[in-house]
């Protein structure tokens, strides 16, 4: 397993060019091209803002501007959920590569996660523009220093889960359908459209078990709420948890690796 991980570093150029290809191919032939990376989260944000401003307009005052609060959670969530949804399919759709080319299979889910991360990164300028627009000037260097840490934790966590999902989907194709529903549930079980302190005490204990809760809260604390970053203990715990999840996911992937060429 360690050997395979080291091998992976050799394939960095391949991962780079595959991510670039993924991004290019996704918008090839569409008029707006790369701008969809900006527009998609923007449109989603528009929908949620509309619903929660005009249809369900009751909120505590500290959630203003609500659109910005939402954006802090939805942008990373989109990265997370599309990565998982796509990577569960990626070994099957890339079956030709696995069967016909000598090729470390873990490159495929990793590329999926990284390509989605690039969409996330393209969305960040919009997020910062929003922060400036709302004059919600609470960004301090001390808080922003935590921002890359959150992203790295999310990356490790997502890659770990993506490896696990891609490997078991090869054997159980219904993971795809299960996953769609799990992700919907997961979205509402994460404080993205509501703040953590609106959850009842019982639910809060359960929400704490959800790893994405701590990522979402971290993003919100850094980018939305004023004051120093108070969630850092949880975030450090998440560093450990995400590393453990990554190792577990990679272990499962590695164990099932030899079956891919025969099963896909």
């Amino acid at each position: 397993m360690l050997h395979n991980l080291r091998q992976l570093i050799r394939y960095r150029p391949l991962i780079q060019s595959l991510v670039a290809r993924e991004l290019k191919a996704r918008y090839r032939g569409s008029v707006l091209g790369f701008f969809w990376s900006f527009f998609n989260p923007l449109l989603l944000l528009g929908i949620y803002s509309f619903v929660f401003t005009f249809v369900l307009p009751s909120r505590p005052a500290d959630l203003e501007p609500y659109a910005l609060f939402l954006f802090c959670g939805i942008l990373p969530w989109t990265w997370f959920s599309s990565s998982l949804a796509e990577s569960s399919q990626v070994l099957i759709s890339g079956g030709n590569l696995i069967k016909k080319v000598l090729f470390p299979a873990e490159v495929l889910p990793i590329v999926t996660v990284l390509a989605n991360m690039m969409h996330f990164v393209f969305g960040l300028p919009i997020l910062f523009l929003f922060i400036l627009y709302f004059k919600h000037a609470v960004l301090t260097l001390g808080e922003l220093a935590w921002f890359p840490v959150v992203i790295i934790v999310q990356l490790i966590l997502t890659v770990g889960l993506a490896l696990f999902l891609s490997a078991i989907t090869v054997h159980f194709r219904d993971v795809k359908d299960i996953l769609g529903n799990v992700l919907t549930f997961w979205f509402f079980a994460t404080p993205i459209i509501y703040p953590m302190d609106m959850a009842p005490p019982m639910g809060r204990a359960l929400l704490n078990l959800n790893p994405f809760t701590h990522l979402a809260i971290s993003y919100q604390e850094i980018l939305f709420y004023p004051g120093p970053f108070g969630h850092w203990r949880w975030l450090l715990a998440m560093v450990v948890a995400s590393l453990l999840l990554f190792v577990a996911g990679y272990f499962v992937f590695d164990r099932l690796r030899d079956s891919f060429a025969e099963e896909v």
Partner: protein, 448 residues
């Protein structure tokens, strides 16, 4: 030095029962058999205990029927699958031409695909850039290299895939029947490239059905049969043994076909004979099932059977009974015949038809001015051809005995098949004896 070493490699695939195939996570969990279902129920050894070595710098061919395990071995050497037991060791950089252009993305341009494919096959970006022009030139795609790959024809696609793979400059090149694609000119170009590889001392492992290629190109060959080695060593000898074996099974197949034809004809004959006894003693009318136009008729047997062809056999060299013959060999059709009563009006006829139903040759004793005089009891008729000058293919034979006026005694229409094999893949319906002559200023390379 050995470049490829395969020792006692066995590859076992799972074969799923219907139940397992439709099992889902849900049903597996309901039955509580998630773990049990991951275990194969039935296994199938695609390759069984195969060992061979390929010396560095040699070209090694693997031949065998479909499903004999050739491609599995190639995939194990390429490292795409691992042997279930045993070991596979390869020295140096491998490039596997298993499926050309696997991994091309249809939406992006040929140029970008060349880079990604090259990197996938183990080159660095700089190396691809250095070889880029060469790759495009080899693929003959200068004009289209910036168009998306989805607009390419399948030939263009294959050419580009081949060009990238061959320019990876591997130490060991694995080729799985990829020369079947592409037009004649491109195939030649590929062969030239392989020749260049050989000269530069690279190792090539070739899996193919093109036996000529193995004989011409390979230093050593291996014949696989149901996952096991049947023969290994000198390519001429291995290919020869393989061809003989293929002919033997074809022979058995044709023999079975002819036996079946004979059987159905005999059943028809038995039915006809019971009619015959009913009208015994009267003047024999023409049998009712005689087709109006014999050359349009389908296969079958008809006739009054007063004079009868009891058995038909084909014989080759030295009277050996066979169903497969080689162009130019002697060939004899042997008829065992019987007259139920003495006769003086009879004509023997024969016709040879190719697979398209075209009559390659037809004659009878009447056409050849042999006037019948007397025949009683059992006998044999041989129709001997000194040199069977037919092109490769399967042929069917008509044999008949009838009256001079055409009244059929016994007519066997297209019931018997034989096969002609030829080293030369010439075409047509027959092969005249011929030779080429050239004035001294027109020269050809000596055969390889």
């Amino acid at each position: 030095m050995t470049a490829i070493e395969v020792s006692n490699a066995t590859k076992i695939y799972r074969r799923y029962s219907r139940r397992r195939q439709f099992a889902t996570l849900k049903s597996a969990m309901l039955r509580g058999s998630v773990i049990a279902d991951l275990r194969p129920e039935e296994t199938f050894a695609a390759v069984r205990d195969v060992s061979f070595q390929v010396a560095s710098g040699t070209t090694f061919g693997i031949v065998g029927r479909n499903g004999s395990g050739k491609s599995t071995i190639l995939k194990m050497v390429a490292g795409i699958t691992k042997p279930t037991s045993g070991r596979v060791r390869v020295e140096g950089r491998i490039s596997a031409l298993i499926e050309l252009g696997a991994g091309f993305h249809p939406e992006i341009s040929g140029r970008e695909n060349v880079f990604i494919n090259g990197i996938m096959l183990g080159l660095s970006k700089r190396e691809v850039a250095r070889r880029f022009d060469e790759i495009v030139e080899f693929a003959e795609l200068e004009e289209f290299i910036d168009a998306p790959v989805k607009t390419y024809s399948s030939g263009m696609y294959m050419r580009l895939g081949f060009a990238v793979a061959i320019n990876v400059d591997p130490d060991v090149l694995l080729i799985d029947e990829v020369l079947a694609v592409g037009d004649e000119a491109f195939t030649h170009k590929c062969l030239d490239k392989f020749g260049e590889f050989r000269r530069r001392g690279k190792t090539i492992l070739l899996v193919t059905h093109s036996l000529g290629l193995v004989e011409r190109f390979c230093d050593e060959a291996l014949w696989l049969e149901s996952g096991e080695i049947r023969a290994a060593g000198d390519p001429k000898r291995v290919v020869g043994a393989y061809i003989t074996d293929v002919e033997k099974s074809e022979e058995e197949h044709l023999a079975a076909v002819n036996a079946r034809a004979r059987e159905t004809a005999d059943q028809g004959a038995a039915a006809a004979r019971s009619d015959e006894t009913a009208v015994a003693g009267e003047v024999m009318p023409a049998p009712p099932d005689v087709p109006a136009d014999m050359f349009q008729a389908g296969e079958g047997r008809w006739g009054s059977r007063e004079l009868e062809i009891v058995d038909v056999q084909f014989a080759g060299d030295n009277g050996r009974i066979a169903h497969i013959f080689h162009t130019g060999e002697p060939f004899t059709v042997r008829l065992k015949v019987r007259a139920t009563r003495p006769a003086d009006d009879f004509v023997f006829g024969i016709g040879i038809f190719n697979a398209d139903g075209i009559c390659c040759y037809g004659t009878n004793t009447g056409i050849e001015d042999l006037a019948s005089a007397e025949w009683s009891g059992e006998g044999e008729v041989h129709f001997a051809i000194d040199n069977l000058d037919l092109v490769e293919g399967t042929y069917k034979v008509d044999v008949a005995v009838h009256k001079r006026d055409g009244y059929p005694y016994d007519y066997h229409r297209l019931l018997y098949s034989f096969r002609v094999k030829s080293r030369t893949k010439d075409v047509g319906i027959y092969r005249p004896r011929h030779r080429w002559q050239f004035s001294p200023n027109i020269r050809f390379k000596p055969p390889i």
